[in-house]
């Protein structure tokens, strides 16, 4: 379906502005994967509290009865859902569907989406952030780690693009 997107440079400027406001008000930048982790730890804690508390990685988020959902990122992500929804509603892009390159089946798309998610979930924890938190925010504060992670993400995606082209361009 044909649809009108905002001019990328304008969008980039607005994105930078939002990020700058995050720094100005809260002293921190954006993020995404952390919020997913918080929701996961929260759920794990409800289902298996002892195991969660003993886990070396997740334990610190529930230590001393802390609520993992009490985190800047969680509230930010709730806002993202709303903001995305509003934008989609205004632009007429609200539609329940599976978006995929016509040359592959919807199921194939879902399988790869799931695998990609697993990889991203794992990688974002190891890399201490995803593209929003580590790369975008990291670059804005000139952090060395931010630049390295960004280069690694985009470099790898470019290098591996050839092997996945069937999914995107046939």
């Amino acid at each position: 379906m044909k649809t009108k997107y905002m001019n990328p440079y304008l969008a980039g400027f607005l994105l930078g502005f939002v990020l700058l406001m995050a720094f100005y008000f809260s002293g921190r930048g954006l993020g995404a994967s952390g919020a997913v982790k918080d929701v996961l730890v929260f759920s794990m804690d409800k289902v298996a509290p002892t195991h969660t508390a003993e886990n070396h990685y997740f334990g610190k988020y529930v230590a001393d009865g802390a609520n993992p959902l009490n985190n800047w990122l969680v509230y930010e992500m709730l806002g993202v859902v709303l903001g995305g929804f509003i934008s989609g509603a205004i632009a007429g892009r609200l539609k329940l569907r599976i978006e995929h390159f016509p040359g592959i089946s919807a199921n194939r798309r879902l399988v790869f989406a799931l695998i990609g998610g697993v990889l991203f979930g794992f990688g974002s924890q190891l890399g201490r952030g995803c593209t929003s938190g580590s790369a975008l925010t990291g670059m804005a504060v000139l952090s060395l780690g931010g630049f390295i992670t960004m280069a690694a993400i985009f470099g790898t995606a470019f290098a591996a693009a050839y092997f996945f082209k069937k999914n995107w361009i046939g």
């Binding site: 001019n7 440079y9 304008l10 980039g12 400027f13 002293g27 921190r28 930048g29 993020g31 995404a32 994967s33 952390g34 982790k37 990122l73 974002s124 201490r128 952030g129 995803c130 938190g133 580590s134 925010t137």
Partner: protein, 207 residues
């Protein structure tokens, strides 16, 4: 003009500006001139030697003595357990933790009051609290506490009590004459008022 060229053009211009301008490393003053004047007029930062003596005798753990003289003078003599931070270095990041906290009360001293008080003015204006100045410095301290003059018999009782206290203090703190130990003095002593502050949390963030 194409949006791309406009966007890139502006960014390059701003980039050149920011690349040429030297980085801003100023430490802004947090108190206005009027607030500083009020603080100075209050005079509550001044710590009388009697008060300090009492804190030291009681080994009050919340007191920290800061000697702002040069390191040579510090070597020759300094008050017990004092740290040497020469006035010229008070803004150095190495010493920031001494000022930027809400746990100890720093008492700055020098030979007189001037050097110590100058240091206090700057630190106070930068927003640091829990800092006091030893009134009269080491000179007055020695005169009053270390070698207290015996009072004439006609002076009011509390002066005599003060004298007894100072004699005892000078004994306890390694000073002057070896006379009879003081009776416990009835001196109004306030504990140092420490303004608690949450230690400036290191910035938080990340995923």
């Amino acid at each position: 003009m194409k949006p791309r060229n406009l966007a890139v053009g502006i960014m390059i211009l701003l980039g050149i500006v920011i690349a040429m301008v030297p980085e801003n490393t100023t430490k802004p003053f947090k108190l206005t001139a009027q607030q500083m004047l009020n603080a100075v007029n209050d005079g509550t930062e001044m710590v009388h030697p009697d008060l300090l003596a009492d804190w030291l005798i009681n080994k009050d753990p919340s007191i920290q003595l800061i000697d702002v003289r040069s390191s040579d003078e510090f070597e020759k003599f300094h008050l017990d357990q004092a740290i040497n931070v020469p006035r010229a270095d008070i803004l150095s990041p190495d010493y920031r933790e001494i000022w930027d906290q809400g746990v100890k009360f720093n008492v700055i001293y020098s030979n007189g009051s001037t050097t110590a008080h100058d240091a206090w003015m700057i630190l106070r204006q930068l927003g640091y609290q829990n800092i006091g100045v030893l009134m009269g410095g080491l000179n007055y301290w020695t005169e009053v506490v270390m070698n207290p003059k015996s009072p004439a018999a006609i002076l009011p009782d509390d002066e005599i009590a003060k004298y007894e206290f100072r004699k005892g203090a000078s004994q306890a703190l390694g000073g002057g004459s070896a006379s009879a130990p003081a009776t416990s003095a009835e001196i109004e002593v306030q504990k140092p008022k420490i303004v608690p502050r949450k230690a400036k949390k290191a910035p938080q963030g990340g995923c």
